[in-house]
Symmetry: C2
Subunit: 145 residues, 2 copies
């Protein structure tokens, strides 16, 4: 298992916490120099708050940890392709690397805001894609009964 | 003074609170049936948090007030055109009307995520544009000394 997969597994652990709270199971971690400095999982229903996406919480936590609003030496791992909102936050934080699992053509930033990240940011998609996507698909299948 | 100008003045009051905290002076209010149910001003420096934009806080406050994550009967007033992140949050909240003051061609959603809002959302720009924009321009001029 390479580093990207290792950290994506931690993001998947976060996604499972969302699932336990009956939330769309998406999770994220922010990593700096091999250390996880921010974690988050989707809590939009629990908090009645559309801004409570996994990435937003992981970014806020990492910035809190660092005491500054830039994450210029960090990597964000998230189980699903970020939405427009989260992509905007990623851009503001100047994250230089973003790793995501499953793509989200319906809501993802690649469709709606392809230039939201820092111009030099490097993006890796498809890490543990099947597992990340299956978690979300199972959730919606169960929801529809 | 029409209703839009009246609520934009309240958003400007919020922007001035940001200014007092040495923040980029942007403010926002969410209005439902003639009542302000959410307010916010930019606090990104104070909180070391890129997600602490005026709109994000006003939306979160309004959702908290309503106890639900949709703002389908509300109008958002914000002194400056929303960025990608805030536009994404506005889209998720299903706000049907957005009124902004000054445009922001460098960072605004119209350039980077023009389809971020709900497809039926109505947008009015340019309300008290000069006053809203001047506040920000003065801030940056002072910052540069």
């Amino acid at each position: 298992m390479n580093d990207d997969e290792r950290y994506m597994r931690l993001a998947l652990d976060e996604a499972r916490k969302a699932l336990e709270a009956d939330e769309v199971p998406i999770g994220a971690v922010v990593v700096a120099q091999g250390r996880v400095i921010g974690r988050g999982h989707n809590l939009t229903e629990t908090l009645h708050d559309v801004t409570a996406h996994a990435e937003m919480q992981a970014i806020t936590a990492a910035e809190e940890y660092l005491g500054g609003k830039y994450l210029t030496d960090c990597t964000l791992y998230v189980t699903v392709e970020p939405c427009v909102m989260c992509a905007g936050a990623i851009g503001w934080s100047q994250l230089p690397r973003i790793v995501f699992g499953a793509s989200d053509p319906k809501r993802g930033y690649q469709t709606y805001a392809p230039r939201a990240f820092h111009p030099k940011a490097k993006v890796t998609g498809g890490v543990l894609e099947e597992e990340c996507g299956q978690l979300v698909r199972d959730f919606f299948r169960k929801l529809k009964g």
